[in-house]
Symmetry: C2
């Protein structure tokens, strides 16, 4: 069933906004009685049926309220050094499927890409990709996509658990940090991880982050590409907290 | 350091094959003393230094033998319904980074894509992608990429543990199967999972596979795309066996 995100919570009847009307009625040719799922800002999901179209306004009637719990039990943020080409789009799409709550793209020392003046436009486009992926993967929340011009800004942000995915850690045999963190994390706590761009994270950046309470963690013994590491991290969080030791 | 796969095990000195010579000497302009890593068919890795170039032949001298253990502690196979567009390439590249040993693309009932006569050419191209990704992620093994014209052929293959990633299982709240399997698996045992194409796996296919000992498993409560599910599964295996409960 098609899924849409609503801008306001709804009662038993509601009308569609212009964009949803266009997709549901014009593109999908919904008729009276056609149903769709609608996610409210409070994350409750309702199934509503098209009741009437009058003067270009579609009135929907709520026929069922779903109780679903498809969000990760912790609040996840991935912080990615600006990647090359269209890798940012791949990261946003896949991380959204895997349950991320926030993606921050950050200019790092060894980022080849520079966003500068293009950042607003890029973030707007990535936010749309996140919304589409959230609908497809039946999320009840659309991740927030942001840009930070420096790691200093990111380092000062408050999170309950702060990690750096660092491939040098893999080479020295560090393997325990992620599992230890996930064994200790409490439901609804926030956790973030910094991922380098293709060129990696500079040693002085590691120093700055660890001075702010970030810990270095390996994601297994293989070298993962910049866009693969966040997907591993999110998959591991889901496996550890939703499948291996369910927290809810 | 650049990494190459050798076609035969080597002694203290060896000469480069044509393809490796072209990349190392012509493209990378290696000089006497330039080093690279070479993975032997027995998976041992040596560092060798360019000793001499004579008559278009490059002689390498082994300077160090590495002891590395970057392969997953179990033998993994992903079996993917033929995906659309270039998704097969994405799956092969990312699954190789994540440690897969074998990827089998299979014609399923609801595959929109058909390979038929193109299968040999596609597999050859995907095998090259696997080799490149194995080098980049410092694997000691290049995954085998194969094609199967029917699920019946796949269902009869011998594996110690056989799973189906099935999104309908997620909807009914199945969450324990993958964790239970990974808690029970022994080092070096083989494990495979079947992943549907975009349209999913048909109920009669699920029946056929379960009759052959496959068990249905969910990969968390969110709906993952065809190309994302295998990456989640491999990440979870790495996390469970390499980070959370190291087997080696």
């Amino acid at each position: 069933m098609q899924r849409y995100f609503l801008k306001a919570n709804v009662e038993a009847n509601f009308t569609l906004d212009e964009e949803t009307y266009h997709h549901f009625v014009t593109v999908l040719r919904a008729k009276e009685g056609t149903k769709a799922e609608f996610v409210q800002p409070n994350q409750a999901v309702v199934i509503a049926s098209l009741a009437a179209i009058t003067d270009g306004m579609a009135t929907m009637q709520v026929v069922e309220t779903l109780t679903s719990d498809v969000e990760l039990p912790v609040d996840t943020t991935i912080i990615c050094g600006l990647p090359k080409g269209d890798k940012a789009e791949l990261i946003v799409q896949k991380a959204t499927e895997l349950g991320v709550n926030q993606v921050i793209f950050v200019q790092t020392a060894w980022s080849v890409a520079k966003w500068n003046d293009k950042a607003d436009k890029k973030i707007a486009r990535l936010q749309k990709i996140a919304a589409g992926a959230a609908e497809q993967s039946h999320r009840t929340r659309v991740p927030a996509i942001k840009y930070a011009p420096s790691l200093a800004e990111v380092a000062a942000m408050p999170f309950d658990h702060k990690m750096i995915a660092y491939e040098e850690a893999a080479k020295t045999g560090e393997q325990a940090q992620l599992a230890q963190t996930l064994a200790a994390i409490e439901p609804q706590q926030s956790i973030c991880a910094v991922f380098g761009p293709e060129g990696g994270i500079a040693p002085q950046e590691i120093e700055k982050l660890t001075a702010h309470g970030f810990t270095v963690a390996a994601l297994g013994p293989r070298i993962l590409r910049a866009e693969t590491a966040p997907l591993y991290w999110l998959s591991a969080i889901s496996f550890a907290l939703e499948l291996a030791q369910p927290q809810h």
